[in-house]
Symmetry: C2
Subunit: 77 residues, 2 copies
């Protein structure tokens, strides 16, 4: 089954890439954009039919590889 994971920077961690996107959008005329934060998204195809088990495995993989927990949070969708 497919498990979707989002990894985002923690609040307070600087995100220059997001800032650059925000400034570009503002420059394009979207003046109502007050902030952009960029994160990562993963589609994991896991050979496991039990959704609960697949999510537990995905969480473990996030902690070990996909997210840097010092500066990032992750969420299993």
């Amino acid at each position: 089954m497919k498990i979707k994971v989002v990894v985002t920077l923690k609040n307070g961690v600087l995100d220059p890439q997001g800032k650059a996107i925000q400034q570009t959008l503002n420059g394009m005329g979207y003046s109502n954009i007050q902030g952009v934060r960029q994160g990562k998204y993963f589609d994991l195809e896991i050979a496991e039919n039990d959704e609960a088990k697949a999510k537990v495995a995905a969480e473990e993989m996030c902690k070990k590889l996909l997210a840097n927990l010092v500066i990032e949070d992750f969420k299993i969708l």
Copy 2:
């Protein structure tokens, strides 16, 4: 309000980064991982209280800047 956007590679577009992650996970013992696709995630903070209008604006920004529609799809969450 906050609008979340996910940008993913279209099916059929090669994703060497996702492949590398898959091989690493397999090498770490997660042999049940059959595929990984990596995408991008954006948190947009829009000064707009009407959710429908904010989503329309986000869609426009995706088409113009955030996604490369030749090889990527986007989804407003």
